[in-house]
Amino acid sequence: MTTPQLAPEGPRTERAPARPRTAPRGARFVPPQRFVPVIATFVLFVAMFGAGSARYEGFGDPQVFLTLFVDNAYLIVLAVGMTFVILTGGIDLSVGSVVALTGMVASWALQEGWSAPVVIAAVLLMGTAFGLVQGAIIAVFDIQPFIVTLAGLFFARGLCYLISTESFPIRDDTFISLASGSLELPGGYYVSYTAVAAVAVVAVAAFVLHLTRFGRTVYAIGGSEASAVLMGLQVRRTKIAVYAVSGLCASLGGLLFALYSLSGYPLAALGMELDAIAAVVIGGTLLSGGVGFVVGSMLGVLVFGTILTLINFDGTLSSWWTRIVIGALLLAFIVMQRAFLRARA
């Protein structure tokens, strides 16, 4: 055998412009297509909101849209943390309980006379530490995240009960002013500080995910953990960090929730982890990891919120029809999203 020596025929660049491969070979995306799920979510969200405005009087009021952020600030923050975890192919079931725990600890500590800034710092630290421990167990001992965080769910909720089975009101002035404070917008509209904080968290998270090495490693681990290891990335450290981020977001979300309800309640945020996961996935993030954006997760939360708002505006649904209609709207949304993606593919 002789290696055939080909005469180079012109610059290679012009040989095969990277055309999108349309064959459905696994999950292969081409650049613009990466954003398509988010775009689809956005378009459908607008459509859904438009449909609501057409149907219900007062729904089209911009304040309704702003209230979506106000009412779902905590969920947006949770979804952001969850996005980090899901991007690495993991899952964090503990966030709902951590929200409750944060509320309990915060309200309890305030009652004990701690000052507000100390309380805030303490609960954020606590949430981060909680996530850190979970992450360490997952990454160091190589145990499935589902189990570890489910145990975390039990544990945090259990701690709530240990603090008290009853709810605590929050009467601290700083908290109350944070809770009721809002940013006035022209036209008499307003958004609460909590909503502003949530959007800020989204912005920071987007920055971290896309413009830091840590963020890129998160995506790499989700794409292929084994490859990430072979590429010499800090896989273990990043996995731990991701759960710490989720814990931090959960406790921040917990603070926002405590501000939202101005109380701590051991049964608060039951099942909220599922809402957060659902919002993330609706926002176009793949549960298998590596694909998705925080902005999508925020849109996912807004879609969720819109569904609830629609139902509240309707006001004629009995309890069970409420559930069925939520399911149906969810279905309509994801099927349309799917169709949108198919049409683009």
């Binding site: 696994g26 001992f141 953990e225 996935v281 969810l330």
Partner: protein
């Protein structure tokens, strides 16, 4: 994975035994079983009977998870099955007849199969991520169940229906049903190629498709089977208390079932699964619940106790955790990383030992963790 290695199950079994022993210490008569009114009576019997619904749902869930899926709707499906059955019996001409019970249960299970087809359709035909696809039914399903019962608790007095959940043929009927289901699934997956196909679809869907495996049919089948199992569980729960409470039947059943599967050593990333592991996992969960009741653990502490046990079991099971914990006691320090200079050679202790071949693999489908892969 567990099927390939065997050892994780051994550890789960060990944990189960430890829990039982702990119970005996606290409640000396815990293991005693006597015959009462012609049937067996005792805590162990309770564990088996009350664990039956979780076990059967976990059975279906195992196969779903093996195909890289997940089924969140099982609790809602169970609620629908229980509600439909009770409402059907209550509305029958003779609500106490065995005929009414048979018709009701058949209707309920048939409906569950339809619900399973629906899930399968969303996942395999529309290609929606399983967690979201089944979330739809999880949300709407309980509403449907309430619609069926009108939001009331429907009580029935039908001795034939009672048999499934509360009846005994020396041992509880529910346990017999579950045992039969386990044997059936075990036999089918072992004696036919179904088990291989399920695993193969879960490990590498594209390769399976190219090899001609009907992956769509397989996915359909597992979701239908899962819904069927959930339906059976719902019937058992409703039958156990002779009433359908659409709101409480199968609440958190999905979490318990998934937990059972995962404790049993099956990876959520799909692929290799272990039926015996699932059975042990389900037993472990029910034993834990019964322990809480029997040992008089205060309600406030219950959840913390559960969390601690679950984590302990997992640590026991994890080969890497055992290796690390054993090494910890060794005098050599753990140096996490050798730096470029190479002047501080890390002892080999930092590297997992050969036991580590299973490698956990929770990191997503593509992470085919190789043997002895050491992470930085």
């Amino acid at each position: 994975m567990a099927r390939a290695k065997g050892s994780p199950i051994a550890w789960a079994v060990l944990a189960l035994l430890a829990l039982l022993v702990g119970n005996v210490v606290v409640t000396p008569g815990f293991l005693s079983v006597r015959v009462q009114d012609g049937h067996l009576y005792g805590s162990v019997v309770d564990i088996l009977r009350n664990g039956a619904p979780v076990m059967i749902v976990a059975l279906g869930m195992t196969l779903v998870i093996a195909t890289r899926g997940i089924d969140l709707s099982v609790g809602a499906v169970a609620a629908i099955a229980g509600s439909v059955a009770c409402v059907s019996i209550a509305g029958a001409e003779d609500p106490t007849s065995a005929g009414a019970a048979v018709v009701a249960m058949t209707t309920a299970l048939a409906l569950c199969i339809v619900l399973g087809l629906w899930n399968g359709f969303l996942v395999s035909v529309l290609g929606i991520q399983p967690i979201i696809a089944t979330l739809v039914l999880m949300t709407a399903g309980r509403g449907i169940a309430q619609l069926v019962t009108g939001g009331n608790i429907t009580t029935v007095t039908n001795s034939a229906f009672r048999q499934l959940g509360a009846g005994y043929l020396l041992v509880p009927v529910a346990v017999l049903v579950v045992a039969a289901a386990i044997l059936l699934v075990w036999g089918t997956t072992r004696r036919t190629a179904l088990g291989t196909f399920v695993e193969s679809v879960g490990i590498n869907p594209e390769a399976s498709r190219l090899a001609g495996v009907r992956s769509r049919t397989i996915v359909f089948t597992v979701y239908v089977f899962s819904a069927f199992c959930a339906g059976l569980a719902g019937l058992m729960i409703a039958s156990n208390v002779s009433s359908a409470d659409a709101n409480s039947i199968g609440l958190y059943l999905e979490m318990d079932a998934i937990l059972a599967v995962v404790i049993g050593g099956t990876s959520l990333a799909g692929g290799r699964y272990s039926l015996p592991g699932t059975v042990v996992g389900a037993l472990l969960i029910q034993t834990l619940t019964t322990t809480v009741y029997t040992a008089g653990i205060p309600t406030q502490v219950t959840l913390v106790f559960k969390a601690v046990v679950v984590i302990a079991v997992c640590l026991l099971q994890s080969p890497r955790a055992r290796a690390v914990l054993v090494r910890r006691r060794a005098p050599r320090p753990l140096v996490p990383e050798a730096r470029a200079s190479g002047d501080a050679p890390a002892p080999s202790a930092a590297l997992p030992d050969p036991l580590d071949a299973s490698g956990g693999d929770a990191g997503g489908p593509s992470s085919s963790s190789a043997h002895k892969v050491a992470q930085p």
